[in-house]
Symmetry: C2
Subunit: 137 residues, 2 copies
């Protein structure tokens, strides 16, 4: 698992502006680098909360703050970087083999994830020592 945090980027998406609100459209494979097999969203997060980390063997994800803000701490076993998401038309693209922690949620924030695969528990790496072992193999 040779992926690094430097292969994870923030992508700016279009914002279609209108008196009655803004729209950001994301077509699978066109606007983002994968087909959208699954969507999930996280809400009712208490302000200041932290969500425990994990990594994936094969999953590609795009993480978006559609409301409020939070920080994503990316970790490839050697280096870490923290990315603040707080605009609905920016998305963080995360490739397989990257540990991520979600921290510093604002009250009322909503985290939207577009994922390249359906849910598969076997794809999750939830143990940090095991993650480091896989990265250093």
């Amino acid at each position: 698992m040779k992926s690094t945090i430097y292969n994870c980027n923030v992508i700016e998406f279009p914002k279609i502006h209108n008196r009655a609100g803004n729209i950001t459209p994301l077509n699978g494979l066109t606007d983002i680098p994968f087909e959208i097999k699954r969507v999930y969203y996280l809400y009712d997060v208490p302000g200041g909360e932290t969500r425990g980390g994990h990594a994936h063997h094969n999953l590609y994800q795009l993480i978006i703050a559609v409301s409020g803000s939070f920080d994503v701490v990316l970790d490839d076993g050697k280096n870490k970087k923290t990315i603040t998401l707080n605009r609905p038309n920016y998305g963080l693209y995360i490739i397989p083999g990257i540990w991520r922690d979600l921290v510093n949620f604002s009250s009322g924030s909503v985290l939207l994830v577009l994922a390249s695969e359906k849910y598969d528990e076997k794809d999750y790496i939830r143990d940090y020592p095991q993650f480091l072992h896989l990265k250093n193999d």
Copy 2:
């Protein structure tokens, strides 16, 4: 276009509860009746705002209030009904041939749409008299 508003339903989705927030996962074809080809979301809508209506020839959609609330007015050319969306784990499934208006947005609301097709302007019906003509053919 014989579809009616009675074929459009509110679907309750799972809510995975946790001290640090709730997650609702939507796997294409498993949790919802179509593959997710496109995702878009509407934000920065001024409170009380209304968004002009349209219908689709072929598109299936799921509309979710991931933050705040709004009302969706469905119209099949003969009957209308108004559905209030205000919980992130409920989605309104809209089939082709239904005119919809979006009204009564709360401040800070975010409307998330999962769509069965990529964007195609030819699939939109934006003229209400034309819509009525198609429905009565």
